[in-house]
């Protein structure tokens, strides 16, 4: 009897806590659906009345639209994910399953650079990209994201755990190295690749610091930067528009999260990378 209730003894307080945790998101949605005069109403009005979609139509159309920025974020994310998956998978495979001169030294070099925080590299990247004509272009965001050390690690850790016998058998049958990689090991790697893809997508989609430093033209803002368009020069935030745009910025990550929840959490928790 007590066993049956114990589930609820813990469950009820945890659900109350969870609802409190969600309050900022509920506030976000509620504020996006009401006129600005009601945003700071005391007491807080959770269910908007009048209920209105005007904020959403403003941030989705005309000069104030965040859709171009949304498109740029999609473009950046797709190229980064594709580039990282290709280069990291190949490099990770070679570090794990092939042997060549200097491999381990090279891997040590990779280890050493991986602990460097991205923030430290922003000053030189800022300078280089100006010299190369990449500053204030989307390529400043895309290119460094296509070639990552952490992605290579993730893939290497997977390939190291795979048996070598598969390759031996295929080589006996005359398969070359590229065939061994693409026909035998690559199909096995799809779960890890999807985990890496999710991570790369979320890094790219949520990145604010890199575009803050490397993008200056508002016509090239990615989505997180464009959310700041609804703050005026005095720092006054337009609550409804900002929250409507914020909701839109969360939706893609949320969809990936809901659809691939198990894999998403595994990817995040096994790597400790945000």
């Amino acid at each position: 009897m007590t066993k049956k209730y114990s589930k609820w003894i813990w469950g009820v307080p945890l659900w109350i806590l969870a609802i409190a945790f969600l309050a900022p998101f509920a506030w976000m949605i509620s504020t996006a659906l009401k006129p600005d005069v009601d945003a700071y109403k005391i007491p807080m009005q959770w269910i908007p009345s009048p209920f209105q979609w005007d904020n959403f139509s403003t941030v989705l159309s005309g000069a104030t639209s965040v859709l171009p920025a949304f498109g740029r974020s999609v473009f950046v994310a797709l190229l980064r994910v594709a580039g990282e998956l290709i280069t990291a998978t190949m490099a990770g495979y070679a570090f794990a399953r092939m042997s060549f001169k200097g491999r381990d030294k090279l891997f040590l070099l990779y280890l050493a650079t991986a602990i460097i925080p991205a923030q430290l590299l922003l000053v030189p990247r800022f300078i280089y990209f100006q010299k190369l004509g990449l500053y204030d272009t989307l390529w400043a965001l895309i290119l460094p994201g296509m070639f990552t050390v952490l992605g290579t690690f993730l893939m290497r850790q997977f390939f190291v755990s795979q048996p070598a016998e598969f390759a031996e058998a295929a080589r006996m049958d005359g398969a070359n190295e590229w065939r061994v990689f693409t026909r035998i090991y690559l199909p096995l790697a799809t779960p890890v690749m999807s985990a890496l893809g999710i991570l790369a997508f979320v890094w790219s989609w949520n990145d604010y610091e890199t575009p803050l430093v490397l993008i200056s033209n508002p016509d090239r803002y990615t989505l997180p930067l464009s959310l700041t368009n609804f703050v005026d020069e005095q720092g006054q935030i337009a609550p409804g528009l900002t929250m409507a745009a914020s909701v839109i910025s969360i939706v893609p990550v949320l969809i990936v999260f809901v659809v691939l929840q198990r894999r998403f959490i595994a990817a995040m928790t096994h790597t400790g990378i945000k």
Binding site: W10, A91, D104, T113, A114, E177, P224, I237
Partner: protein, 310 residues
Amino acid sequence: MATATVVAAGTKARTEQGSGIRPSGWIGFLFIAPNLLGVIAFTLIPLISVVVLAFTDWNLVSGLGGITFNGIDNFVAIARDPGFWHAIGLTLVYVVVSVPLTVVLGLALGIALNRPLPGRAVLRAIFFLPYIVNVVAIGMTWLMLMNPKAGLVNQVLDAFGVQPGWFASSHWALPALIVMAVWGGVGYCSLIYLSALQDAPRQLYEAADIDGASAWSKFRVITWPSLLPTTIFLLVTLIIGASQGFGLIALITAGGPGDATTTISYYMYQTGFQFYRFGYASAIGLVTFVGVLVLTLLTWRAQRGRALND
């Protein structure tokens, strides 16, 4: 980007199995080349540059030709720079309060979420949610929630008779950032602990039950030691994250009011990208990085020593 994976990968690199791998000559190198060239161009060269720049006096005004090496001048200047030490102090307070708080609450939440609960999977997802949302959406929301006059947070706190000024007050701005950091990180920590708890030694708990051990002594003797590696991992990841990020501060407080939230990472951002003092900013970045590295190594050592003594 967090870096703790690397530490884990580093230990594994040494134990790699060498069996069954045939020499593949230059073909292996071809597989690595695309990634390697990119890493050299966008990580390695910038990294070397930042080290070189740290020994120069260079700003945007002087242009590329205006680079002059000034030896250790930047580091001497850092040692005497009250702004730097102020930022270090703030960062320490921020890290020392927010990181342990996040880890402890994450542990409690992880243990709670490990029990049979109604709607457990949904609960886990809810607590994790703040972790996957972009910092601008989160920052804007909290900025309005913590509006000193009419924000929801102060409406709730009114019942307790407290009305903090949050981001408008130099006393409350840092605590406000800490509240946000804890809210954002607890769910992540709880999930990491959850996966570690699933590996906890079941037989030991059964044996302890037979001996009639209390819940607290079971936690102290079995659970806590088995979670120690996870705790270290989280401490390291969170310390690095908390000391390197400047996005939220750039967005919400711009280091203020006054310099109340000018943490070291924001100080570097300001020096580099608002005052365009590239040499000095590089030196600050380098010193900070070395400092964080030492701090995380000490965390590692201290915890490891304790683990061996137990």
